[in-house]
């Protein structure tokens, strides 16, 4: 049996020491190409899914009977790294009825979660009462911190109808910190971060309403 001389040639070249960096470079190139292609293929779809999820969340935060405007177009782009922990420009959704602000969905980011940022949307009525809270994004521990998600436990439900008056502002902590809100067994850091973020959203709402009240009274 004669071996193909070309194949033996190839083998010899592959075994040369100088081929090692070439192989590595080739592999890096290939894997980067793979990542780029899959990003290209999926980026649009992922963005669309994110938007659809956001719309579905908005419906829960801003009940249909409380607004008669187009929520998606009536947004204010805000960037409040200090007040709301934003890392980039976020959309503040405002529901109005006959031109009067009735309810808004405030984006807030908790930067002090257990692992990475927790992005929330907090729905607040004009009088400062919470309609609902939605978790948009998080990377908390599966089985512990992720119980903040509304489909995994009803922990998030306890915020409905609360405000800065009920409970009082100083009570906006988890019970472990002598506050009003339940924590999650074995996960304290995540609920603490979420409660803090929701409070920030409420404080922002209060300031926002004060600065906008002349307009709404007209």
């Amino acid at each position: 049996m004669e071996k193909n001389p070309k194949l033996i040639d190839m083998r010899n070249i592959l075994n040369k020491k100088w081929m090692l960096p070439v192989i590595l470079a080739l592999m890096t190139f290939l894997t980067s190409a793979l990542l780029m292609t899959s990003h290209e293929l999926t980026a649009e779809k992922i963005a669309a899914i994110k938007l659809a999820n956001k719309l579905a969340s908005l419906k829960k935060l801003i009940p249909a009977q409380l607004h008669d405007n187009d929520l998606i177009n009536d947004v204010i782009e805000i960037d409040e790294p200090v007040l709301l922990g934003h890392r980039q420009t976020e959309s503040l959704y405002i529901g109005t009825k006959q031109g009067i602000i009735t309810v808004m969905a405030i984006p807030v980011t908790a930067q002090n979660g257990y692992s990475g940022d927790i992005d929330l949307l907090v729905g607040v009525l004009a009088d400062g009462q919470i309609t609902a809270v939605e978790i948009i994004n998080h990377k908390e521990t599966p089985g512990l911190g992720d119980l903040i998600e509304s489909n995994k436990s009803d922990w998030l439900m306890q915020f409905t109808k609360t405000s800065l008056i009920n409970p009082t502002e100083s009570q906006w902590k988890v019970k472990k910190d002598r506050g009003y809100f339940d924590q999650i067994t074995a996960a304290t850091i995540t609920p603490r971060a979420v409660v803090g973020a929701i409070k920030k959203a409420l404080v922002y709402h209060r300031t926002f309403m004060l600065s906008h009240s002349p307009e709404t009274n007209e």
Binding site: M27, T31, T42, K45, P142, L144, T185
Partner: protein, 211 residues
């Protein structure tokens, strides 16, 4: 049982004997369903990476094999995560959180190094599947132990993995149970694993005495 399969499932089980991939094993086994989800995700990743590592055997040289595997495994896992997010979004919502954790599983690296880099692709796929299955089984058993002892429930949140059908198998075994926190906390995982390792060693000892 076939020797090939038996070695991988029991005799030389990745979790019980080789002690590989303990990070995800201990972290995500607090309920049976979490463990099952992580198990399924792990099996699919090991099968795919084993297959690819086996394919690049001609250019895998001893000196650079580790960086090659790292590059390949990391980019494949990331691609898998993006694809799942875009095309199987329901599944992604359930398993997605486990996928980045899989990269920390040295089981994958170990199979690439010890088996896939030396064997043909069909054998590597088979190896990946059964080693992954052995890992998933141990994880699932630990998940059941911790959930029953810790919360008194079994298969809670199964609807996330199986939809409507899943909500029928969600059970409360012990009603009005106060919970046994240590089983859910990380030490519980070590205790459960230790019990399984002890049982496995007992079986091995018996076998050795008999022969």
């Amino acid at each position: 049982m076939n020797e090939f399969i038996k070695t991988r499932l029991i005799d030389n089980n990745a979790a019980l004997v080789q002690m590989l991939g303990l990070c995800p094993l201990l972290a995500v086994s607090n309920t049976a369903i979490n463990a099952l989800g992580m198990g399924i995700a792990t099996i699919s990743v090991v099968v795919i990476t084993n297959f690819l590592v086996s394919l690049i055997r001609p250019i895998t040289k001893k000196e650079i094999r580790i960086p090659l595997f790292v590059l390949l495994i990391a980019s494949v896992v990331t691609t898998l995560e993006m694809m799942m997010n875009a095309y199987f979004h329901q599944l992604y919502l359930v398993l997605g959180i486990f996928i980045p954790l899989i990269v920390t599983n040295c089981l994958i690296m170990a199979r690439a190094e010890a088996y896939a880099s030396k064997n043909a692709w069909w054998l590597s796929i088979k190896d990946g599947f059964f080693v992954g299955l052995g890992f998933a089984l141990v994880m699932f058993i630990i998940g059941i132990m911790r959930e029953v002892i810790g919360q008194g429930t079994l298969f809670s949140q199964a609807h996330l993995l199986f939809g409507d059908w899943g909500s029928h198998i969600e059970m409360t075994l012990i009603p009005n149970y106060d919970g046994f926190l240590i089983a859910i906390l990380p030490p519980g995982a070590f205790f459960a694993l230790a019990i399984l390792v002890a049982l496995k060693n007992k079986r091995d000892n018996k076998k050795n005495q008999a022969s």
